[in-house]
Amino acid sequence: MSTETRPALSQSELERCYEAMVRIRVFEDAAQRLFLANEIEGSIHLYQGQEAIAVGVCSALEPDDAIAATYRGHGVLLAAGSDPARLFAELLGRETGLCGGRAGSMNIVDLEHGVIGCFAIVGGSIAAATGAALAAQLREDDSVGVAFFGDGAANQAYFHECLNFASVRGLPAVYVCENNQYGEFTPYASVTGGGRIATRGAAYGLPGIEVDGNDVDAVRAAAEAAIDRARAGEGPTLLECQTYRHKGHSRHDDPRRYRPDDELKSWLARDPLVLAERALDPEWAVATRAQLEQEIEDALVEAKAAPLPRPDPAASATKEPA
């Protein structure tokens, strides 16, 4: 799938990426357990299976770059460096959450780690990252704006309007489509004209590259090329990363109602962790996982111990001079 053949990652970089992917996997497994136990309220959208995309892209970014993600955003947040304890706390509606419990799973902002937002409306991240790229261009600050979005977003006005706008302005933007094959419960191919999403880049005069989204090395290579291109003032790039979500769309939906079993099996054989492990020492991988399970358990204990926010009668929706 990928046009890139050279390994992007050194052995030590691959190990760091593997750690980052396992951190996401273990976090999301724990989040799912909490949700099914009714400890997390509302809805969550899980990232298991897609870890190589967040990690491959975010590991290639600099601290000043801007990241916009989706309501399926835990993976990108963790890959960007968000504190797992504060992320758990946000999902649990605690005062110490990344947004003090105001945002919840779908709307998190973590500017300290470059995440300008997770967006609850399909496609919203695309405009946010386009704007970050516009700011970078106008302020000549050498940063890039990266949008993560799903295959469903490729049919939203946000996608088409922003790719055109970014193309005509030559914005330093990278558009990362996480094609997990389903928009909610609907197979993407049944609602997406023209076959591939990557080919839509050509319509707007920018490179559209299809990537094996479960191969962290391939994602990293494609992301590096796109980010280099953006920083060099050569304009935006569209990456279509093929992947698969291991879980349902959200909440309790059972994906067996709309996805064939053999499809899941074939994608599980290409689990991004399994693919990465081929190039890693098995004992090191086992030890790493154990270490991360402890880290995530500690984070969860910390989050659960945090206080609930107190409703503030003086809370304001606007920023006013002190």
Partner: protein
Amino acid sequence: MTQVSYRLAVRDALAEEMERDPDVVLLGEDVRIGGVFNATPELLERFGPNRVIDTPISELAFAGAAFGAAVRGLRPVVEIMFADFLGLVLDTVANQASKYWYLSNGQASVPYTIRTTVGAGGRFGAIHSQTPTGWFMNLPGMKIVAPSNAADAKSLMKSAIRDDNPVLVLEHKLLYGTTGEVAAGNGSVEPIGRAAVVRPGRQVTIAAALAMVRTALAAAAELAAGGIEAEVIDLRSLRPLDIDAIAESAGRTGALVAVEEGPPTGGYASEVISAVAERDRSVRVARVTMPDLPIPFSGVLEDAVVPQPPNVVAAVRKLIGERGE
């Protein structure tokens, strides 16, 4: 003080703020040559194409990009040519920008300005004539200003640009050609949220905005000829409303008429009336608005739906008659 048109007051506000702050940039359709309403002439020559940016006809893209750019430190001013086009940007304004300060728990605000042209009377038909205030009235985090004269076209624009939050600036297309005294210079600006008494009176308060301020003043002159002294309040800020000022006036006069160029439901007139009524049940209240209809094209039909001075006079006389004066 010099005589300046409302149109050039808008331009001068933009120029002064762009001069003052290099992070202020203007984005919109055809803004380089001055825009369809010619409110941005000569800004390109002064500030260059990186700060006066022509966009595709792609409102969602450039309004959405303005949001992202504002989070990252710019103070963009977005021109939406006609307010009727705001429907195209509702997601980024309502779901992204207006909620950002609160949902991010104060990590950043969205210091951008959306300026747009509103108002009937131009024979532009239903979808180039609206004043869609109600679409934005119930958005926590949003501010809305509505200048009725040249001085405010400048001062409220400057306040909007310096405000740290999303601000919608409504410019009435019939007011662009009007002139007034406008302060020069680039000093401090007032915070958003203050109404102004533009005609004092003691028997009834008439609250209005945009072109309806002229309508209210014309009605007040006619009422004065008949012996009724009306106080006219120019609301200036529709969100937040200056309820203190309106309630103080209405408490004094005992009667309040809110005049709005918009449909009767869910606009600023409803909000003015309910907020004052909550504070002071003794105030008699009435609204003068458009009927619950789209704005028709034919001149005779359009004029019939826009509140006119006789409508306001009649509403005041009825209200005061009820009170037995």
